[in-house]
């Protein structure tokens, strides 16, 4: 067995550098117990992947951090403060494309900077840099409808990069992309993670994706979802998203997570 598999509550819960802390959190939708109780903390700069069966509350975890959802019991802390109301310190990226069709790529990336009242010159710099980071330079004046799905997803990432949040919440961001493009996006994402030093919370149902990217993978149980298994992925970095798959340890992690997932 390649890894130290922690049990339900991570021992890192009282880690000093914890960026995000879920403390005994549970969520209900009406009478439905959707998630928890759950205690988990995420270190600053960590890449944490969350996997689990559908409906187990993976996305709910992200919404709690974003502040768009309040817990039924327990508390959620972000950088030491309790989350209440929309958390503007995060970047939320999902499968859904939130590009505004009437704005060019450039203007879409500029949107959060306009909201946040940046100066004109700084906006231009940040937009250009973000587009460079996702290899979309040259498409500044294109409209979203002229772009493919993969490019749109990169616009979404660039838009988040532009204002440089300390935490990225990603909810199956590459779910709609084909396998080839996914691998390419994984490479880019790992590079961004390294460059920005930000904390990443990455929800996926794809174990390959989780192992390739993450420092730690949390496997959630069925609803109401609780962490069933937390695995440290001790694979060397920087990682090559293709090479890593033939690593012996990779296969072992996969097996371990697969059994924990307990898919019928």
């Amino acid at each position: 067995m390649p890894a130290t598999a922690a049990t339900v509550a991570s021992t890192r819960a009282d880690d000093g550098a914890a960026d995000i802390v879920f403390e005994n959190v549970s969520v209900r939708f009406g009478a439905l117990k959707a998630m928890g109780p759950l205690t988990l903390s995420v270190r600053r700069g960590e890449f944490l992947a969350i996997v689990g069966p559908s409906g187990c509350g993976k996305s709910t975890l992200l919404n709690l951090v974003a502040g768009t959802l309040q817990p039924y019991t327990g508390r959620v802390f972000y950088k030491g403060a309790r989350v209440d109301g929309a958390n503007r310190d995060i970047g939320y990226i999902t499968q859904k494309n939130y590009c505004l069709p009437w704005r060019t790529v450039e203007a879409n990336v500029r949107l959060p900077l306009e909201f946040r009242g940046y100066r004109r010159a700084e906006m231009d710099d940040r937009v250009a840099k973000a587009l460079r980071q996702v290899s979309l330079s040259g498409f500044e004046k294109s409209y979203p409808r002229q772009l493919s799905g993969g490019m749109l997803q990169r616009v979404m990432i660039a838009r988040t990069l532009a204002y440089g949040p300390a935490t990225y919440l990603m909810d199956e961001p590459f779910g709609s992309l084909d396998a080839q493009l996914r691998l390419r996006m994984h490479t880019e994402l790992l590079r961004l993670w390294q460059e920005t030093g930000a904390t990443f919370l990455f929800v996926t149902h794809d174990l390959h994706e989780a192992i390739t990217l993450a420092d730690r993978v949390v496997v959630m149980s069925r609803r109401p979802g609780t962490p069933k298994l937390v695995v440290d992925i001790d694979l060397p970095r920087p990682r090559d998203v293709v090479e890593i798959q033939s690593d012996a340890a990779f296969g072992a992690y996969f097996k371990q997570l697969w059994h924990a997932l307990d898919v019928d």
Partner: protein
């Protein structure tokens, strides 16, 4: 067969969307020629029937209409009549559109307010507004103001309803996402909701445009002493069919010109819709 691989030097960059299909030269112009021929034939047929079956009293004839137009123009009244009717319809259109769009934005955005007022507005909407024309004479006299207010009223309802619908269609996920990007509620309204519903507003303007003219003409029918509508009514009472048709021709030209102006504005404002491939589904003229 080598296709250009990249646009940006990024080898895997997906090619940008289609360039829009080009209509072959002959086909495009062929239709135009055919339309000109059809029009000519129709006018010739009209002239022939009027002459052959002696229907001039009812149908007038193209040559008669032309004579009326020329004498109307020469008397100097054509210019002043058109100017008056245009002013009434134009000012009415602007007032009605602005009021309709503003109220549509507001009631569409503030859901509670919208729910509160919807039944009231709806009952006014179903009322045949032409029936209000005499009342407007009472309120606003028989001058231009009466026509302006009446045409404004008709336009208002058209623009208000489409704008209201459009605002209610705004994707709530998009708004929630904007909040996370740092938008205030006012910013989501200005930067997301208003542009989002612009397509509907334009649909409303397009539907409302002919109503601006209808308002002015009906107003002139009811009580006036000049204007294109007044001339038509006057000509009818003198059984001057050719002059009636001359008035109709002038109205047709005016409304086509209006529509062309609106289309030009729309093309500029909604440029994003037509760029690249053209599969955008505009809400069109449909009411829900």
């Amino acid at each position: 067969m080598s296709q250009a691989q990249t646009t940006s030097g990024d080898v895997n960059a997906e090619p940008a969307g289609g360039q829009g299909t080009r209509v072959p030269h002959l086909v495009r112009h062929g239709t135009l020629y055919l339309q000109i021929v059809t029009l000519t034939v129709m006018i010739a047929l009209w002239e022939w029937i009027a002459d052959r079956f002696d229907t001039v009293f009812w149908t007038s004839s193209p040559s008669g209409v032309l004579r009326e137009l020329v004498s109307w123009a020469q008397s100097g009244q054509l210019a002043s009549d058109v100017a008056l009717t245009l002013t009434e319809a134009g000012v009415g259109f602007v007032i009605g559109s602005v009021a309709g769009a503003l109220l549509g934005f507001l009631l569409g955005w503030v859901r509670r307010l919208g729910d509160l007022f919807e039944p009231f507005v709806l009952s006014f909407y179903t009322l045949p507004k032409v029936a209000l024309a005499p009342l407007f004479v009472l309120w606003f006299g028989i001058g231009a103001l009466n026509k302006i207010m009446f045409s404004g009223l008709l336009v208002f309802f058209m623009v208000f309803f489409t704008t209201f619908q459009g605002m209610r269609q705004v994707d709530t996920d998009l708004l929630a996402n904007a909040r996370l990007l740092g938008a205030s509620r006012l910013q989501t309204f200005i930067k997301i909701a208003i542009p989002y519903s612009a397509v509907w507003v334009f649909a409303g303007l397009r539907i409302g445009l002919p109503y601006a003219l209808i308002g002015a003409i009906v107003g002139e029918f009811v009580a006036a002493d000049s204007g294109v509508g007044y001339r038509i009514k006057e000509a009818t009472s003198f059984f001057n069919t050719a002059a009636v048709f001359a008035g109709l021709v002038v109205l047709m030209v005016i409304s086509l010109a209006f529509l062309a102006i609106l289309k030009a504005i729309e093309r500029r404002t909604l440029r994003w819709q037509t760029i690249g491939e053209t599969d955008a589904t505009a809400p069109g003229e449909a009411h829900e």
